[in-house]
């Protein structure tokens, strides 16, 4: 038996990915179905000198990781819907102050306390629009443990590259189920470290003045550059400003640095998309059922394909528009009332051929559900 083959829950695959990426500070608050992430990290982090803290609530958890990130650590918190709601203000702060961090939301049924132990994908729009004010976000997801591992590493890389919080939207099914995980060797997945300023002591360091390439090198708290960080609109010194030019410039920068790189942030898997007459678009655990349908129907001659999205925000609209051109039917498979469906409809040339196959009762959508809905759309009846 190889040491790097594990049989674990998805939440643990996320932990392995985070540690591989260099996570060394975690703050969190217990909430089903994410709690295993906190439990495993409370055990694993101090073994390598990292820090784990259980805060008094999710607000404090989000704040604590931002504070620790400023001292140079790679940081993460994990929660589920109700806790993710509480984190929104501080999440907006991290967006505004451009502090790298990773937030895991293992989705359960909502709104409110909802279905603590059942699956849902109802937080997709919350990830996009949960914080107030115009802003851009990166939100990623995955459907199996190998991908959960890889996308978690990717989340840390993107957080550092774009100096922004990255949201990982997992769900109860993938979070709790166990399957095989092969932990990659060190170096197999490239890691992006903190970009630190080369400005020497005694020379002015402008914490919020982007370089030519748009990136903002950081300086750790405790270092030689003392500067101000604020959630107010701020100038290149990090000092509050309500100068209209400064305000507009900062907001544009915050939006553009992510939206203008949407194609580079887009992660996805494709299965039999090339000649598909019916294209399924899905993500997270719903994509497992969608893939089951594709693998099952292809040998029977049905031209069904799957576009599995791993980047949900910024929405990979060019990719989706292009892949949706040829198929006669596009069916978005998700466990909510059509949150990704809306984004797909907005992006494609002919939205009338886009349908929703969903399930919102706390149960994982089944391959049979998907087939039945497809048959109805095709006019074949169930």
């Amino acid at each position: 038996m190889k040491d790097n083959i594990k049989f674990v829950q998805g939440n643990e695959a996320c932990v392995e990915g985070a540690l591989y990426a260099g996570l060394d500070f975690f703050a969190g608050y217990p909430i089903t179905p994410s709690t295993e992430i906190a439990e495993h990290l409370s055990y694993r982090l101090p073994q390598s000198g990292g820090k784990f803290i259980q805060m008094e609530d999710e607000i404090a958890s989000m704040c604590a990781i931002i504070g620790a990130s400023l001292t140079g650590h790679k940081v993460m918190t994990a929660t589920s819907g109700p806790g993710f709601s509480l984190m929104q203000e501080a999440l907006g702060y991290a967006i505004m102050t451009e502090i790298p961090c990773v937030i895991v939301d293992v989705q359960r049924g909502g709104p409110s306390t909802g279905l603590p132990t059942s699956v849902s994908q109802g937080d997709v729009n919350q990830a996009r629009w949960g914080a107030h004010g115009d802003h851009a976000v990166i939100a990623l997801t995955a459907s199996n443990h190998q991908d959960i591992f890889a996308i978690t590493v990717e989340a840390f890389n993107l957080a550092e590259t774009y100096r922004t919080p990255v949201i990982l939207l997992f769900d109860e099914v993938t979070g709790h189920m166990r399957e095989r995980l092969v932990v990659p060797e060190e170096g197999e997945i490239p890691l992006v470290g903190r970009l630190r300023t080369s400005v020497p002591e005694g020379v002015d360091y402008h914490p919020y003045l982007p370089r030519e390439d748009g990136r903002l090198p950081m300086s750790d708290f405790g270092g030689v550059h003392r500067y101000n960080v604020t959630g107010l609109f701020h100038d290149m010194w990090g000092f509050p400003s309500n100068n209209p030019g400064v305000v507009q410039g900062l907001l544009r920068h915050l939006m553009d640095k992510i939206n203008n790189n949407a194609h580079q942030i887009a992660r996805y898997n494709e299965y039999f998309v090339e000649d598909a007459q019916v294209l399924l678009i899905s993500y997270g655990s719903a994509a497992r059922s969608a893939l089951h349908v594709v693998q099952n129907r292809r040998p029977r001659g049905e031209r069904v394909g799957l576009l599995e999205l791993q980047t949900l925000w910024p929405f990979p609209v060019d990719l989706v528009r292009e892949r949706c051109r040829a198929p006669e039917i596009v069916m978005v498979v998700e466990m909510n009332m059509g949150q990704v469906l809306q984004a797909v409809k907005l992006g494609v040339d002919d939205p009338e051929k886009v349908f929703l196959a969903n399930r919102i009762d706390g149960s994982l959508i089944t391959p049979t559900d998907i087939r039945n809905i497809l048959r109805v759309i095709q006019g074949k009846g169930v």
Binding site: F25, A27, Y43, L45, P46, Q47, S48, G49, K51, I53, M55, E56, D57, I59, A60, S61, C63, A64, I65, I66, G67, A68, S69, L70, T71, G72, H73, V75, E89, A90, Y93, D220, F221, G222, G223, V224, R226, Y227, N228, V229, T230, G231, L232, W237, F239, P240
Partner: protein, 270 residues
């Protein structure tokens, strides 16, 4: 180092009203830090939202101006991230004890080393004079036009009950004592709280007919007394000043080092 060297002159003038007590607090804080000979690079000032919280922008330390009520939670991350740093968290009374009350008691309970300064002006100044959890019964505010029926916290008692290992109270009139309290609080290895009664002549003073800023400071002179003084026995309504608690308990970050040691032992065993 002259006091000016601790200030970011670029960002002046400050936004505090004439007569506000917060500038006196900033002055005393600079003098305490100067007297202790601390390097500016090893100080992180974390603040929330409100008049008092703007202090962080004016001082030449690593400064983190965060969101309302959560300064101590951010500060906890900074301190855990780099325990060598000195963390100072100036807060207003609403910031620290209304929206931030939960974080306050939990930071105290953990005994994580940082200095929480509660600049108590008994009012929400930035938003224009609404009652705070420290306004007290019978006071007036823009949201208590008839009278405030909320009772106030006693910050000292609250801090002690929550587990703070250094607790002091002083006022803007007693600047020598304030500087002394700050020095001891910053040196204390644990969670320290310094409550500073700080006048808001613009809102609390005007609403409650307290007179000018100078009148309000005279009020602090006449209505406070050192802890355990004879005057307190004669007049129990006097507010006590001084250091109420100063004790040693395991500090959070140092205790976490023990966790790391234990975890490493376990890791080696497999």
């Amino acid at each position: 180092m002259p006091v000016k060297d601790y200030i970011r002159e670029r960002f002046f003038p400050h936004l505090w009203c004439p007569g506000c007590g917060h500038g006196i607090v900033m002055n005393a804080l600079i003098r305490a830090i100067e007297a202790l000979g601390l390097s500016k690079n090893e100080i992180v000032m974390v603040s929330g939202i409100g008049c008092s919280s703007r202090i962080s922008g004016y001082l030449d330390f690593h400064t983190l101006h965060t969101i309302h009520g959560r300064a101590l939670a951010f500060a906890t991350g900074v301190k855990m991230g780099l325990p060598e740093l000195n963390i100072i968290v100036p807060m207003g009374d609403g910031d620290a004890l209304a929206i931030g009350g939960n974080h306050f008691i939990h930071a105290a309970r953990r005994n994580i080393e940082m200095t929480a300064i509660i600049m108590n002006n008994r009012i929400y100044g930035m938003t224009g004079g609404q009652y705070s959890p420290l306004s007290g019964y019978g006071t007036l505010a823009t949201t208590a036009p008839y009278m405030n029926i909320d009772h106030a916290f006693d910050v000292v008692q609250l801090s002690i009950a929550a587990g703070a290992t250094f607790v002091a109270r002083t006022t803007t009139y007693h600047v020598q004592q304030m500087t002394d309290c700050f020095k001891k609080a910053i040196l204390h290895e644990g969670f320290s709280v310094v409550e500073v009664l700080s006048q808001c002549p613009t809102y609390f003073g005007r609403k409650n007919k307290m007179g000018s800023a100078a009148d309000m400071m005279a009020f602090y002179r006449d209505h406070t007394t050192p802890i355990g003084s004879k005057k307190k026995k004669e007049n129990p309504d006097l507010i006590e000043r001084g250091i109420f608690v100063q004790k040693d308990l395991p500090e959070y970050c140092r205790a976490y080092d023990t966790v790391i040691e234990r975890a490493k032992g376990k890791g080696q065993k497999g």
